[in-house]
């Protein structure tokens, strides 16, 4: 009941308070909440004359967990790589958290983003790779501290505390001073997840993170991702071949074929009762391989 009163007091103090009055909190939140966290708008990716993604349109809501499946060469990994700005796009715009990532507004016009803009918007995204890509000359702890110290400017102590906490979370607190070469594949991938999380991203991208692992190590990595999804406000986008995991974990599954989304929907529906012939073929082929 006291809330409006407080707001009024703030308004009397200066401009900041006034804007709060102008845009009541609820309306403001609604706008933010309804806005997708990631939006691909007519995004086209070509390698020379080969079109990998053809006018892709895809919205991902805040905290949504989306799994991308599809045969190799369907462009599914490219979706993540474009979002991480590892690939340039030839058409369209990618939006992150309400602002353009690949472009910026200049005098009311959209122009390709410069390095500064890219770095700023990109900081909202974290990525975990199929082949871990850990820094081999650094310990697990140093791997997780490097970017927070050099990019976010965190004091060493604070970065170390954050890194330790994350390594504990992925169950590797006792391996913090180990070098990547001394870790198993599953452990490496868990360090890689902790390293990406240390930058506090809003969106996490997982690119076939279990594909390079021995079968018995897949579970430990998926468990960490499960835990992440349950305990943190993270938008997750994941390319995977683990259909069981996709079914249980994701809010939505997108099936890519030939550079397009052929079918998408809730996991039960898409994996259980696919409508498209291509999807059916793919799923039965995947199930057969089991």
């Amino acid at each position: 009941m006291n809330e409006p009163m407080l707001r009024f007091e703030n308004a009397a103090k200066g401009d900041e308070g006034l804007t709060v009055l102008d845009k009541p909190d609820t309306a403001c939140n609604d706008k933010v909440m309804n806005e997708p966290m990631v939006r691909f708008e007519n995004v086209t990716k070509r390698y020379g004359s080969l079109t990998v993604l053809d006018e892709l349109n895809l919205d991902i809501a805040r905290n949504e967990k989306v799994c991308i499946i599809g045969p190799s060469g369907s462009g599914k990994t490219t979706v993540l790589r474009m979002l991480m700005t590892l690939e340039q796009i030839q058409g369209g715009v990618i939006w992150v958290d309400g602002e353009p990532l690949t472009h910026m507004q200049e005098n009311g016009q959209m122009v390709p983003a410069n390095d500064r803009h890219l770095r700023r918007v990109r900081s909202k995204i974290g990525m975990v790779f199929q082949h871990f890509n850990l820094f081999p000359h650094m310990t697990a702890l140093q791997n997780c501290m490097e970017a927070p110290v050099s990019v976010l400017g965190l004091p060493k102590k604070e970065a170390e505390a954050r890194a330790s906490e994350l390594l504990d979370m992925v169950g590797l607190g006792d391996k913090r001073n180990h070098f990547p070469i001394q870790l198993s594949g599953g452990q490496k991938q868990r360090v890689a997840i902790a390293r990406a999380l240390a930058m506090r991203p809003k969106v996490m991208l997982f690119d076939e993170v279990t594909s390079a692992l021995d079968p018995e190590l897949i579970g430990e990595v998926l468990n960490v991702i499960r835990k992440l999804g349950a305990e943190h406000d993270l938008t997750m986008l994941m390319v995977t071949h683990q259909m069981g995991f996709a079914k249980e974990f994701s809010d939505r599954v997108c099936f890519f074929y030939g550079g397009k989304i052929v079918e998408q929907g809730p996991p039960d529906q898409l994996l259980g009762n696919p409508q498209n012939e291509r999807t059916r073929q793919f799923l039965s082929a995947v199930l057969e391989a089991r």
Partner: protein
């Protein structure tokens, strides 16, 4: 007249000592130039600007394809005709350094290209600056494996220093020649110079090897 006369050895010693100091100074200084400049050239060749990288590549090719002696002569003898006076020491060390910088840049380049693409991608994903990426991620992985190759050039440069005699720098071999001419006796001085080159090369190789092992262990590579 005996084949070997120890008295000449003692007499030649002060000459050769002075010469040895010059030889070592020249080697170390020009090696520092070669490594620093070679790294800079290698980095410039990675520039995304095609004109910049191509120009650098052509320049490296040019320097590698002409003799060192000619380059030293050019700087030392042709320069003054256009009013560019460079002291012998500067011209000699500088040109030896620049010449080997061209070779070293190739070595650095090989080391840089051997770093996996995924390392660059991880740096982008973590939003590291370009500078930071090079300094803390790429170069620490690129350099340790190429230390033996750089070491080979170090020993190679050491053996090239007698070229400096051509522009009247009194390095070791030149000192031996002067001593020999003064005394009509070359055997001892020349053999001593050869012995010194041999010992220094072996010692330098051993040092390079231990540096290489230390670096690889320090950075957990292999």
């Amino acid at each position: 007249m005996s084949i070997w006369d120890w008295s000449y050895v003692w007499e030649a010693w002060p000459y050769l000592y002075r010469g040895a100091i010059v030889t070592i100074q020249a080697t170390v200084l020009s090696f520092v130039i070669a490594v620093v400049l070679g790294l800079i050239v290698a980095l410039i060749r990675q520039s995304p600007n095609r004109y910049v990288s191509t120009t650098m590549t052509e320049l490296v090719e040019f320097i590698r394809s002409t003799p060192l002696l000619l380059q030293v002569f050019f700087v030392y003898f042709v320069g003054p005709q256009f009013g560019i006076l460079i002291p012998a020491w500067t011209a000699g060390i500088g040109m030896l350094g620049i010449h080997y910088a061209a070779y070293c840049s190739e070595v650095f380049r090989a080391g840089i290209l051997a770093v996996e693409e995924g390392q660059w991608e991880a740096c982008t994903a973590l939003n590291l600056s370009r500078m930071r990426t090079w300094r803390t991620i790429i170069l620490p992985q690129a350099i340790p494996p190429i230390v033996p190759a750089l070491g080979n050039y170090f020993v190679g440069m050491f053996k090239e220093t007698p070229i400096l005699a051509a522009i009247a720098i009194l390095e070791m071999l030149q000192q031996a020649k002067i001593f020999g001419a003064n005394n009509y006796r070359y055997t001892e001085a020349i053999v001593m110079v050869g012995f010194f080159f041999l010992v220094f090369s072996l010692v330098a190789s051993a040092i390079v090897q231990s540096v290489s092992i230390w670096l690889n262990r320090r950075y957990r590579l292999q």
